[in-house]
């Protein structure tokens, strides 16, 4: 059974949701405090949502200096699966593990609503169980979720198939409707929507299981 590290920063607030979701798809969650310098024995790492270090300066700006981030960088460089959700996505961009940046939403409103995502690449560790073009209902919950990058970066994203998920109806002004991106190798993925909050049809959607099941290494058949 896969062991998935869930990094906890001061100010994280989705770590229990993430851990529950990991258990839900058959893996074992392990909390890792941000001051740890090692991840221990894990098969994947999740940086959960919240407000790491109070989001002071910029979301993710200070979290990248937490000691655990060196271990996350090494793990990613060795090909280990790394997933940043919401604030975790912001941390990964600030740490330079993912291209681009997240700025304030167009319209300056905090957005908390279901969104429809369109799967744009299936080569990443998050979308390997999904179908190209598949629609997934996953909620968002953020103020700074508008994805931005310069033209050169954007062309690279397109050329390397690094745009992993797009919004069907762009809620926040993200460039090219981008909801999630990966690194070039596809083992580091960040997204603003919260798949860990879409784990049960009783609560609105179970589409997050497709994403997180793939991330923890379940075969697509195991969830069917």
């Amino acid at each position: 059974m896969a062991r998935i590290g869930v990094v906890v920063f001061p100010g994280s607030n989705c770590e229990y949701d993430a851990a529950n979701a990991v258990s839900d798809v058959g893996a074992t969650p392990v909390f890792i405090w941000h001051s740890e310098s090692s991840l221990g024995e894990v098969d994947g790492v999740i940086l959960p949502g919240g407000f790491a270090h109070g989001d002071y300066l910029r979301p993710g700006a200070l979290a990248r200096f937490s000691p655990v981030m060196d271990a996350v960088k090494n793990f990613a460089a060795e090909g280990g699966p790394v997933l940043g959700i919401c604030n975790g996505f912001q941390v990964l961009t600030e740490a330079g593990l993912l291209p681009g940046a997240l700025q304030k939403n167009r319209g300056l409103t905090f957005l908390c609503q279901p969104t429809t995502l369109v799967v744009a690449a299936t080569s990443s560790v998050l979308t390997r169980n999904a179908r190209l073009g598949q629609h997934l209902s996953v909620p968002i919950n953020h103020f700074s979720g508008s994805y931005t990058c310069d033209d050169a970066t954007y062309e690279q994203l397109v050329a390397n198939d690094q745009i992993v998920l797009r919004y069907l109806d762009n809620p926040n002004g993200s460039r090219d409707d981008i909801a999630g991106v990966s690194n070039e190798a596809g083992n580091v993925v960040g997204l603003m929507p919260h798949p860990e909050r879409a784990m049960s049809t009783l609560l609105g959607s179970a589409d997050g299981r497709v994403l997180l099941g793939g991330f923890v290494g379940l075969s697509a058949d195991a969830l069917a």
Binding site: L57, G100, Q103, G107, T148
Partner: protein, 83 residues
């Protein structure tokens, strides 16, 4: 010498600035017309111990680029306070 340095951080040209745009739209209601290109940003003040003003500014510039701003979407300028 101890130098007082101010670092200004603003969104890069071409990056949408919803905060600046919202402020700009509010100005006519107060009777201010003819105001355009409002950009919102941040300002930091720091005291830097250095041998010269140039050294203080180069330290502050490095801090601005590595921490105070995100070069993907923001520009930063360091200047001596009072100049």
């Amino acid at each position: 010498m101890n130098y007082s340095v101010i670092v200004d951080v603003t969104l890069r040209a071409g990056i949408a600035d919803p905060e600046g745009a919202t402020i700009e739209r509010a100005l006519p209601a107060l009777g201010f017309t003819g105001i355009s290109n409002v950009r919102a940003g941040k300002s930091f003040r720091l005291n830097v111990e250095a041998a010269s003003a140039e050294e203080a500014l180069s330290q502050a510039t490095a801090i601005a680029q590595r921490l105070l701003s995100n070069p993907v979407m923001e520009d930063s300028v360091a200047r001596l306070a009072g100049e």
